[in-house]
């Protein structure tokens, strides 16, 4: 048992000692700050039409805890669903496979390590929530239990379930991270859709893995009683509206029931049981065993070739003279080739399906939903644009090549932009036919922005995760028509020029930062 603690600790430290995690924590501080919006803000996070809770300890504590549970349930999965993959990439897995540790033991370590990573983030939102109480202070007394209890009873069990599901997803879907996320997102969506179902005190809240229906039920009950209303809907998330005046209600938290508390423990046990079941299917880093017949045939073929050929002399021979060519076109060609060859073929079929749909769907639907989706389907391609050199340990060649900053990096950026524009071509052509030049500019700027965001975050963090999470949030924002973070300009804007200027400034900042940081990295290996 004591070895398990050491292993969990080592795994946790390995995953958190990175720049990308540091950036994640910085973003967390900002997110936690925005969980509790001021009274004059244009958005709410816990939304009941026309109502807002008074800023007492219970409101601030519960809103923060529930928002942490909601947001980390969605994005936290993306953050932690690479624990096993890391062991494959670093080949530490091969060492682990030869140790006496059982499959279940190993997966359990991953579960707890995932949980600790999410817990660290939750710890930050928890701390910030107390700071926010003082910042937003309305003279209510500070009650510590109003902050800690919802975190322990909502957020922690929810994060434990997420951690377990991330392990299970990795076992069954391996490196197919997009597919993992799509499936997870639908499961999560289905669960979230049910949060307004059972009323407070109803035992069916036990079936909600995130336990949020207990909060929604309690709030509805409070408002309906206090104001004689018949509110049926309470929602979580960043919800933007132009509404400025709200009626304030005082809410003092939920009444915890034994059923609810037991149900949290059962959900945690359930996720451990899922991990246990998945341990029977865990590959234990033996990939030849699970290789498809086609792959096995290739491996056999290679072995035949290797034994048949006798090594010839390694000889420079009569080489033709070197012709100097410092152009970037060959880079762009190879970058496009790498973008195309990445990923499974069926994924291309899905993208092709959405691409064709963009030709025929109503333009606003194509712009608001299909384009962000088809781009998001390429998330691992974009996120690898500048990180693949390091992942594949090719950066030694890149950085020691002639003018890497003026040739390699622009080629990667241009290839990414070209790729994004090709994917958006059906809509661009339709807008041109409709003479809607503003929309065309918005899409082109959106393509440049998203590629540069991938490049910049990849260069700074050295990994793919940060961009993947932010890209998901941006995609979600576009499909939810949130104008403030609609990088595609899909939501009708009052002043499109301002939108263009803002995106252009962001693009310039991202380019500058990318070149600046890469310039440093190229000389400091």
């Amino acid at each position: 048992m004591k070895y398990s603690f050491t292993l969990i600790k080592a795994d946790y430290l390995q995953r958190t000692r990175s720049y990308s995690f540091l950036i994640t924590l910085a973003i967390t501080v900002y997110a936690a700050y925005s969980f509790v919006p001021p009274t004059n803000a244009a958005y709410t996070t816990l939304n009941v039409t026309g109502y807002r809770g008074a800023f007492n300890s219970a409101w601030v504590g519960y809103v923060s805890a529930t928002m942490t549970a909601v947001m980390l349930s969605l994005y936290g999965f993306l953050l932690v669903n690479n624990g096993i993959k890391k062991d494959i990439d670093t080949e530490v897995g091969l060492i682990i496979a030869t140790t006496p540790i059982s499959n279940f033991g190993y997966l359990l370590i991953k579960l707890f390590s995932n949980f600790l990573v999410l817990l660290t983030i939750a710890g930050i939102t928890f701390t910030v929530s107390m700071v926010m109480f003082w910042l937003r202070g309305s003279g209510y007394p500070f009650i510590f239990t109003d902050f800690i209890t919802p975190y322990i009873l909502f957020a922690l069990p929810a994060l434990f379930v997420v951690s377990g599901l991330a392990v299970v997803a990795e076992v069954f879907l391996g490196k197919r991270s997009i597919l993992q996320f799509i499936i997870y997102f639908f499961i999560c969506g289905a669960v979230m859709a049910g949060i307004n179902g059972p009323e407070s005190g109803n035992p069916t809240v036990a079936f909600d893995p995130f336990g949020l229906s207990l909060v929604t039920g309690s709030i509805k009950s409070q408002i309906n009683t206090q104001f004689h209303e018949n509110i049926k809907q309470v929602s979580f998330g960043f919800i933007f509206s132009n509404r400025k005046s709200f009626r304030t209600f005082e809410w003092n938290g939920v009444s915890w029931t034994a059923i609810f508390i037991t149900s949290r423990l059962i959900w945690m046990a359930f996720s451990m049981a899922l991990v246990y079941l998945s341990s029977f299917f865990f590959h234990r880093f033996d990939f030849n065993q699970s290789a498809s017949r086609k792959k096995k045939a290739i491996i056999q073929d290679q072995q035949t070739i290797s034994t048949e050929i006798r090594p010839a002399a390694i000889n420079a021979g009569p080489l033709p003279p070197v012709v100097i060519d410092y152009g970037i076109l060959p880079f762009i060609k190879t970058e496009l080739l790498l973008l195309i060859r990445k990923g499974a073929k069926w994924f291309w079929l899905a993208s092709a399906g959405v691409w064709i749909a963009m030709l025929f769907a109503p333009l606003d639907i194509a712009h608001t939903y299909l384009l962000p989706i088809v781009w998001f389907l390429q998330v691992t391609r974009f996120s690898e644009l500048v990180t693949k050199e390091r992942t594949n340990r090719l950066h030694y060649f890149t950085y020691s090549s002639y003018k890497p900053l003026l040739r390699m990096l622009p080629a990667q950026i241009l290839a990414g932009i070209l790729f994004a524009i090709i994917l958006a071509l059906p809509i661009i052509v339709r807008y041109i036919i409709n003479s809607n030049i503003d929309a065309v500019i918005n899409i082109l700027l959106g393509a440049i922005f998203i590629v540069l965001l991938a490049v910049c975050l990849g260069i700074i963090s050295g990994g793919k995760k940060l961009f993947e999470i932010i890209f998901f949030m941006l995609t979600y924002a576009v499909t939810q028509k949130i104008p403030a973070i609609d990088y595609l300009g899909a939501t009708p804007q009052q002043d499109n020029t301002s939108h263009i200027v803002i995106i252009a400034i962001l693009i310039l900042s991202l380019v500058t930062l990318s070149f600046f940081v890469r310039n440093y990295q190229a000389r400091h290996l």
Partner: protein, 289 residues
């Protein structure tokens, strides 16, 4: 062509020094770098390859400062890092075309050039397969091919023979001696015999310092007349090691044949003088520094 390195220091942080006040002049031919792990060999190579900046010191290639103007050396550089990788989805042709583009090599004869290099490293038959399916030795050979794409005048090989089988190692050595007349070759290896057969000059390093740089016979002279062999009992070995620098042992039933270098007191009675090798000199210099 010459590479002049003066007072080069690489300080990673307060407690970690990669190189310390390192000065060396490297001319055409093969310079073999020998040193234990952490000696600073890879750090030195990275600095020459311009992917790491020195904290202090200067580096001139034919009179031009390559710390300030790294592109000067990049145009003529062939570099094989110790732990390089490849893009697994590209085949050998595509990969070498990509590296050629990095090096600024193009033209209609590029394909022919790649063909000859692939033939030279015996990868023609596998050239159209994704590199991800290659064995370690095959990847190492493609690494050697990429280093030669641009007719380099400065070649840096960091542990180049790792993963090569004995026959390939022998051919690699031949290739290096073919190239040595025309360019600067800097080569590091843990395998002293590789350096012994290839290098014109040897630089022995330890803890970021240059201990010795000379042609092989001069380095070997440092231990000439001090290397001996003798047969002792198994039980005497531990005590023997405290008196002499044991460079090799060979067990024979209850006796051990020991090759050793005397420190100060002269040889043990019954010892036979043997010819000193580069390995003896290397161990002597690194152990006694």
């Amino acid at each position: 062509m010459s590479l002049v390195i003066t007072n080069l220091t690489k300080q990673y942080n307060k407690n970690k020094t990669g190189l310390s006040n390192y000065s060396i002049t490297i001319g055409k031919g093969v310079l073999g770098l020998l040193g234990p792990n952490g000696a600073g060999k890879s750090t030195l190579m990275k600095i020459i390859a311009t992917i790491s900046k020195p904290t202090e010191g200067t580096l001139f290639l034919d009179g031009e400062d390559i710390v300030k103007n790294p592109d000067r050396i990049r145009k003529v550089l062939g570099y094989l890092p110790q732990d390089f990788g490849v893009y697994p989805n590209l085949n050998a042709y595509e990969f070498l075309e990509y590296i050629a583009a990095m090096k600024g090599v193009g033209g209609k004869d590029l394909r022919k050039r790649i063909d000859i290099l692939l033939e030279g490293v015996n990868l023609t038959a596998d050239a159209k397969r994704p590199i991800g399916t290659y064995s370690g030795g095959m990847k190492q050979r493609i690494g050697i091919a990429q280093a030669l794409l641009n007719d380099p005048k400065v070649l840096i090989f960091d542990e180049p023979t790792v993963g090569l089988d004995p026959e390939e190692r022998m051919r690699f050595r031949q290739l290096i001696s073919d190239l040595a007349d025309d360019c600067i070759i800097i080569l590091s290896s843990h395998i002293v015999s590789d350096i012994e057969t290839i290098a014109d000059e040897v630089a022995i390093m330890k803890g970021g310092l240059l201990l010795e740089k000379a042609i092989q016979p001069d380095i070997i002279k440092r231990v000439e007349g001090r290397v001996f062999e003798t047969l002792i009992d198994n039980s005497e070995l531990t005590a023997f090691k405290t008196k002499h620098l044991v460079v090799n042992t060979n067990r024979q039933k209850d006796k051990v044949s020991v090759r050793y270098i005397t420190r100060a007191d002269g040889p043990e009675p019954g010892s036979a003088t043997v010819n000193a090798t580069l390995e003896d000199a290397y161990l002597f210099l690194t152990q006694n520094s």
